[in-house]
């Protein structure tokens, strides 16, 4: 079972170094991913989180083995911070049998231990709140964390879910990564009013941070995660950040100068500056090796074929797979 908090605590090196290990891996993974797309090795589309890596490492390093994570279309970074398993993600993106969902899910539809993702905006929030409800009913002490973007605040179901989370005092952390754009739409064309006020009006605790600094992010979220767990109260955490890459693959029509001006906030050089050069270089090297290994390994995996599952309703017959509980572990 993935345990990012344990992994983070067990890691050697300073806090910035440990964060850099995650963030450099994420960056390297996605940069290579975009190259692989150009090569034609990948299918469909994919959403990279280049520029937002601090959020992944800064939040998820506080989550333990029992905690639940729900992410969205832009989930690779969250996945790598959670699992530290680039092979199974890369294989999934290449559509291979060895991929985390055997090629069925692809970039946006992933499940690994207690992490889930889906490509429909908003609907994951009630799902995650329901998971928090289940954990509370089971008394597991776990919390659920769900990541959404600014644009996703357009979905009404987010408010329905926040209201219930607040009414029933559920241990849910909603992390809203406001990267100023939703696909091609700037925030000002899609959101009226004030983001945190929307959650506060429903009785959620709220917080806001404007940063792309991994260390700041990590420190900011320590007490937040702790309080959601301790108080079993929902918290809405707004992160103001910026997306430095395309929305998906190759579709960036934002003003070039706007994007260029934000490169100063790039979380990778920002965090790198806190490390000494040789440590940074070593971390990057390891990240690069791991990504190449993942690519190589994935290329060797076969493509899946439809096996026994010729009908989604067959699941009922496959009693052996998971017994009586809703959760079937991989």
């Amino acid at each position: 079972m993935s345990d990012p908090r344990q992994r983070f605590e067990n890691a050697t090196g300073t806090i910035p170094e440990r964060l850099y290990e995650q963030m450099a891996l994420i960056r390297r993974f996605e940069v290579r991913l975009l190259e692989l797309f150009e090569e034609g090795v990948l299918f469909g589309t994919t959403h990279c989180c280049i520029g937002q890596e601090a959020d992944c490492a800064g939040v998820i390093s506080h989550l333990g083995a029992d905690d639940v994570i729900f992410s969205n279309h832009r989930c690779h970074g969250h996945f790598l911070s959670y699992t530290d398993d680039p092979r199974s993600l890369m294989a999934e993106l290449m559509g291979r049998l060895g991929g985390v969902c055997g090629g069925r899910g692809g970039s946006q539809h992933i499940c690994y231990d207690n992490m889930y993702t889906n490509g429909i905006q908003g609907g994951i929030v009630p799902n995650a709140v329901g998971m928090a409800l289940a954990e509370k009913m089971k008394g597991s002490g776990a919390i659920a964390t769900v990541f959404i973007g600014d644009g996703t605040l357009g979905q009404g179901v987010v408010y329905e879910a926040m209201n219930m989370a607040s009414l029933w005092s559920l241990p849910i952390l909603i992390v809203c990564e406001n990267n100023e754009w939703a696909q091609s739409t700037p925030t000002r064309l899609e959101l009226a009013g004030k983001i945190t006020a929307r959650a506060a009006a429903m009785g959620l605790n709220t917080s806001e941070i404007t940063s792309t600094d991994g260390v700041e992010m990590y420190e900011h979220f320590a007490p937040i995660v702790e309080s959601v767990r301790r108080e079993s109260r929902p918290h809405f955490a707004l992160i103001n950040t910026y997306r430095l890459c395309h929305h998906s693959k190759s579709d960036d029509k934002r003003p070039r100068d706007e994007v260029e001006a934000r490169r100063v906030d790039d979380p990778i050089p920002k965090l790198r500056a806190r490390l000494d050069e040789s440590t940074a270089a070593r971390i990057e090297e390891i990240a690069a090796e791991r990504v190449e290994d993942a690519i190589k390994w994935s290329r060797e995996q076969p493509f899946p074929e439809l096996g026994r599952h010729l009908d989604a309703l067959d699941l009922v017959d496959a009693r052996g797979v998971g017994g009586d509980s809703g959760q079937v572990q991989s």
């Binding site: 499940c111 929030v125 599952h309």
Partner: protein, 337 residues
Amino acid sequence: MKDNVLNSLNAGLRSILESAPEAFIMGEDILDPYGGAFKVVAGLSTDFPDRVIPTPISEAGFIGLATGAAMRGMRPVVEIMFGDFLMLAADQLLNHATKYPWMYNDKVRVPLVIRAAMGARRGYGPTHSQSIEKHFFGMPGLVVVAPSPFHDPGALLKSACVEDHRPVLFVENKLMYARRLQRPDADGLVAGMNVRSSGGRYPTVSLSFDDFAEADVTLVAYGGMAEIAVEAATTLMMEQEISAEVLLPSSLNPLDLEPLVDAVKRSGRLVVAEESTQTAGFGSEVISSVLPAAFDRLKAAPVRVSSKNLPIANTVTLESEILPQVADIVSAVRRIL
């Protein structure tokens, strides 16, 4: 306690809560003393206060919550007050609850039951009378089940909740709540007919005035149309000695094809009755599914009986003109004989 559908369902829910610790109930206005708009959950919040959770008016939201809870080992049973409101949660069903199991490579199960009160004939008007289950047929991974007074509604519900690992839409016709359960009399007859059941988790019940050897026509119906179909069969027998075998599936999706095909092969004639509008519904599916196996034995084109293609009007005169009645089934049968 009357031996009716309502009490059977209520007892089924009670038994679910007693036997499955992971089960809980969610929905609007389900607390005592109100006990739900149709009283199906009456008494349960008193006896299981932590496991009957009243929700805000957020159908998409609480079905979404139930889905998440089901993925984490719970067995939620959700009540949708009027089935008409289920469309609010259609995305949660199509792109969330039913997608996760297969899309995640069988890593999760979503043992979620959604009970929805469908159906008309109570003068509730265009937004509180529909039978919209057909719009949910053919979502990969979704089971649609409908009890009738000829089934054991409580037992069906318990199977759906405790034995099934898949999301189940459980369709309750609201006129049916007050109907007595149709149990075999001393001679083993139900409504004067011989009865048999296909068995299994969601059985198909068959009724025949004869010994099931042959029939002039096969009548298929479910839920609230079950008693109407039986009444039509009785009329046909009494007035014209036409022998109609009535098939009442409880699983609408997937279809339990064997008993359907078997019956149609024997009779050569098929009439399917449903309360919904006709297009791309239960009747279309039954007919298209039965055809490949029964084509050679068909003596006439299968016929659908359904509502007119209109919203369901509030006033009684229009409502009854719009809905399928006994006479519509009778005349459909006569047309193909």
